[in-house]
Assembly symmetry: C2
Homo-oligomer: 217 residues x 2
């Protein structure tokens, strides 16, 4: 599959590298062509790896991962272009974390709104699926690293069909289907984005991001 990874930070690198290892063609997108980190990723990754602008990557792909920082996401996706995102699945794994007032961060969109919803409003012809935004990026692509893979992620989106496709992709990352909890439409992203304030404090308490949430009944 042709997949775009928007964002050249650690999350983008980890996701893009995982997708490549699974045999996908991956274009890493950034604000400018030949971004230093994107070029370095292509150089280390070899066949199947490419880079370009956000627009190049969105146009290239049938599925787009948003791995930009939450505060930059709406700008980045605007640069990617509504036409290039039209009809496609956008997997949003970002969080609207604002570090400008110090640690721990606050959320720039919160409570009666979410970044997931803002993206969906801005790109009504794109199928936004929010997932993977509640855990460390190493665990996103390798859930087996904690508790034998037995823990949960959440999925939010208006299109059941798009969510099903994303679940299939996630199972290729070794996520068990039953551990991916469908919360409902994109407004349920409010729930998962607001998990971050607890996540950062647990990170503080443990001194490590290698933990996960498991829902027990």
């Amino acid at each position: 599959m042709k997949i775009a990874v928007l964002g050249t930070g650690m999350v983008g690198d980890v996701i893009a590298t995982k997708l490549l290892s699974l045999g996908h063609s991956v274009m890493m997108g950034s604000r400018t062509n030949n971004n230093e980190k994107a070029a370095a990723w292509v150089a280390k990754s070899g066949a199947g790896a490419a880079q370009g602008t956000f627009a190049d990557a969105a146009q290239f792909a049938s599925i787009v991962f948003n791995c930009t920082k939450g505060l930059n996401t709406l700008d980045a996706l605007t640069l990617a272009g509504a036409e290039n995102l039209k009809g496609k699945i956008l997997i949003d794994i970002s969080n609207p974390l604002d570090f400008s007032k110090g640690m721990p961060p606050v959320l720039s969109i919160v409570n009666d709104n979410s970044l997931g919803e803002e993206i969906q409003k801005l790109f009504p012809d794109t199928k936004v699926v929010k997932t993977l935004n509640t855990l460390n990026c190493q665990l996103m692509v390798n859930p087996l690293l904690v508790n034998g893979g037995d823990h949960n992620i959440f999925i939010s989106g208006n299109s059941a069909e798009a969510k099903a496709e994303v679940v299939t992709l996630l199972t290729s990352f070794a996520w068990k289907k039953e551990n991916i909890l469908d919360l409902g439409d994109i407004t349920t992203a409010r729930g998962t984005e607001q998990l971050l304030p607890l996540w950062v404090r647990l990170y503080g308490a443990y001194g490590s991001p290698m933990f996960q949430f498991k829902i027990v009944k």
Copy 2:
């Protein structure tokens, strides 16, 4: 121990009844003396159970549970009186849930503040400990009802000594010490109060409140 339970709703009833069963003297406090629900609780509970105003209950007790609705909490505690709460541990299990705009609720205090902090600011001479605010009240007093008791609650507060006392009380509810995660000072209540937006959506997805969060590593 003499314990006040402020609030006559389901949460107050469950907590007060559990405390009574453990041999404590419990006074249920409400806005008015002889509140119908408080009187009914005393009538069904017998020896050790009493009721009165918020102020009566706070004055009577050495430990105070806040089980009022989050939107009413600051008013209720003001009625309880700073003098009556002075030097005491206040266990805050409320959440600032605002149902006025429909379901699911939003938070009336959120992001860079929390109800726990607001209480601590308003009563600087009281040791506010936030805990038990992330699960159904039946599970608060009987953690064994799900997953053999193996799941987590959180605790936030500025006084390590007060938190240790609360942990001891919680272990009498059958909580294992290692399952009570100390997040730090009262500002960490932001993390647990903002877990509620996910909690309500999981409740919606499962159709039952009998689930819990477990942190796995």
